[in-house]
């Protein structure tokens, strides 16, 4: 099938949190599509790994869920960010930015190490 890179385990949680921050309340399918859309379809989400990740976030209290109706009037489970989730997202975002900045220093040739 396609050779788009799959989302790494660790970053999936952050993407979910970020997505929910923008969308407010969204069902699992919506989250998956949103992640793909945000990545301009460069990433493909294995939907199978999405649901355990959602469950884990829920167990840790970062998101909550409730049953509702989708735009096509279909019964679906909707997820929302909690306050702890928002805080966690900010924390992880910061860490992630720091990390990428560090990695970028190694990779970009013009700034060098000296």
């Amino acid at each position: 099938m396609n050779d788009k890179p799959e989302v790494w385990q660790g970053t999936l949680a952050l993407m979910v949190l970020k997505t929910l921050e923008g969308a407010g309340s969204l069902h699992g399918y919506g989250i998956a599509r949103q992640i793909e859309r945000t990545s301009a379809d460069l990433l493909s989400v294995n939907y199978g790994t999405l649901y355990p990740a959602l469950l884990k976030l829920q167990q840790e209290g970062y998101i909550t869920s409730e049953w509702g109706l989708s735009e096509s009037n279909r019964k679906a489970k909707f997820y929302q960010l909690t306050r702890a989730g928002r805080k966690q997202m900010h924390k992880e975002t910061e860490e992630w930015e720091q990390m990428t900045a560090i990695v970028a220093r190694f990779l970009s040739p013009k700034e060098g190490m000296a």
Binding site: H27, Y47, Y51, P52, L55, K56, Q59, S72, R74, K77
Partner: protein, 881 residues
Amino acid sequence: MRKFRGWIMRFAGLFNKGRKDRELQEELASHIQMHMEDNLRSGMTPEEARRQAMIQMGGIESTKEAYREQRGLPLLETLFQDLRFGARMLRKNSGFTSVAVLTLALGIGASTAIFSMFDAVLLKPLPYHNPEQLVSLTELHQKGYTRATSFPNFCDWCGQNTVLSELAGMSSAAYNLAGDGEPERVLAQRVSAEFFPLLGVNPVLGRWFTDAEDRANAERVVIISYGLWQRRFSGSSDAVGKRIILDGDTYTIVGVMPSVFQSIAGSRYLSSDGTRDVWTPLATDATRSGRGKVFLRLIGRLKPGVSIEAASSELNAVANRLAKQFPSENTGFGIQVRGLHEDLVENTQSTVWLLMGAVALLLMIACANVANLFLVRASARASEITIRAALGAGRARIIRQLLTESALVALGGGVFGVGLGWLGINLLQRFLPSGQIPLQAAQVNFTELGFALAISLASGLIFGLAPALHSAKVDLNDALKSAGKGTVGGRRGNLRSSFVVAEIALAFVLLASAGLVIKSLGQLLKVNPGFRADNVLTMRIHLSGARYAEAPKTRAFYDQLLAGVKALPGVESVGGVTSLPMSGSISTSSFLIEGQPEPEGNANYTDVQTATSDYFHVMGIPLLKGRVFGRQDDEHTPGVVLINQQMAVKFWPGEDPIGRWIRFSDGKTNYEIVGIVGDVRHFGLSAGVRPETYMPQSQQFGRSMMLAVRAKANPTALVREIRAQITQLDPNVPLADVGTLEATVAATTSDQRATVFLLAAFAVAALVLSAVGIYGVISNSVVQRTRDVGIRMALGAQAGDVRRMVMRQGLMLALFGLAIGVIASFVSSRLLTSALFEVTAGDPVTLAAVSFLLILVALLACWLPARRATKVDPMVALRHE
């Protein structure tokens, strides 16, 4: 924190799985539906839309599986699975299970019972404030003997040290308690004012003593025990301020101690005489304040941060100064400072360690037996395990399953074991004599339960691991080929044999220990105490109050009493002495010998007693030379004494002491030695004999006396009539410590008998368990060798040959175990030494007897399987294939 919440939620995820599964199903279904709708909108055919949606989901079932794993705790769930399966397997093999559980229960029960004793003696801190700061201080002579402390020394130590925050002196006493109700003899302690604050135990009512009350001629005050408060005052809250009469003097009650308060006994161990009923201030007056009067036992509290070593070195510096200052009393004496707990348990701890060691061995034997049972079962289950392995169960998974089963058995054993231990403690407390071994203190509480749980799990691991590791080592190819026949594992057989060898070795160590203490008790009981204990009734009488303040009055009382008792029908003879043998403390004095200079540091010591002239005859103490006291020895004639043989030999070696005189250090009178009597073991059968001097009651003033009444038949039948005689003479005189001399003597060996009983019980249990172990191994090997035996018999072997073959196998195991046991018992005998009396730890007679017994039992255990082997029908055996 979040992680923790995650675990909790996952734990909750273990429940209500059906509903959660349905929810996931719905969620995934709606996901696929939405995906399909999108796909349709983008122009796919319905089939293609559905196919693409399913592809991107990546397999519904594996998603569900991943989800489930995240939802619950997979490890815990397998554990539950294992537990359920294990329980089912154990239920199915109820015979195996009950034997294993009972065997373990025996080991765990015994361990728990003994551990509760261990805990009470060695682990529990003393029930005082900051007990780790408490120390005992004992005067120790360079030559190694100790003595009590004089009041001036106590005061000097108090004033001249900087290492103790408090120092208290105490001395044992006893009073006649009179007032409302029966007169009563109560045990007491005279204590300095610092005593209660030092221990830090508050009274339930009233207060401690004040410094002013601890002075000579201060107003008389008393603190009473909870027991006395309940008994005499029915626990009324206005007891404080009331008066009681002790030895004829009136004392005001100032405090009541709580029921849990246990005083520190005057002797060096915690035993039943830790219970005291009254405490009075030392209030040392002129009669006891001399530096030569040693009567105090001291306890101190270290200042925070001061070590025992530091305290010891400073206090010894003080003692050295005092020795220079007062050479005649203090030369040679230093101070031994020891932790109070260590000091109090000194005599008991070796016994407790010994018993702990014994139960540890018993537990190990039980574990070896159960491990063997598991191995037998493992051969029966070999095909089951092979199939599991073939179906893809990993080695670790199989081991986990088998260990879960052994843990279940172990826990079962633990539950029954705690019950058994509790029962055991209760039985022991009821039937064993109470001595220094604090059986009474033993009880099952949370520490004990925790201990039982810990050893159950540990033993489960010990006996489960070897069989589990062994069983899980399956070679699929071989195993499947011989499936259904059970593996005739040479290696499994070896493992089982080594368990049996270990069992026999351990059993030998236990049996040898039991044998040695039994022999040692036998030696102890053979010791001649120096008197005849049969048919002698004993009691203690103390005359108190102004009525008996002078010698003629007390003498008249005792003369009349003895004459009256002697006239009773059923009484053969009666005598009196200050302290009967094995009945507790005795006063000791230093003395001068005629024609010798005064020795430095009071080196000549003798125990001093006052006795009536008939005493020696009543007790059967032989007169070796000279004469006993007679009518001619009264207050108008020169003072005379009798000495024991030990004293004659020690101080007049090669000379005749009769006609010589001695003088006690604090007196001016010379006493002529008129006779030598036999030695008496005053301090118990195993204790040495000390020099002893007897003074005639007719020349001395003594308010206290112990009576020894030799009866023609049953001595206890006389008690009522003697009590009547006393009441007739003076109704206020209480009778205390009524008993028989036989019981007193028996009480001195109660600890040894308790040790013997416990060790023997453990040894018998060990013997039975190892017999079962040998039996199991041999009979199993007979079953496995049925075909082999059949061939031999078909080839002409006789029943006797077969029997010999089987018996030889058992005997080899027994001999091998025995050899290891002998070596091990040399190592373990060090624990025993302190429990032995006139028996060496390597006593060859005992070891030989024990070896013989073990081999006999081993042969018996092999006999049944050997007989069964001879009954093998060659035809059946060969067809067995």
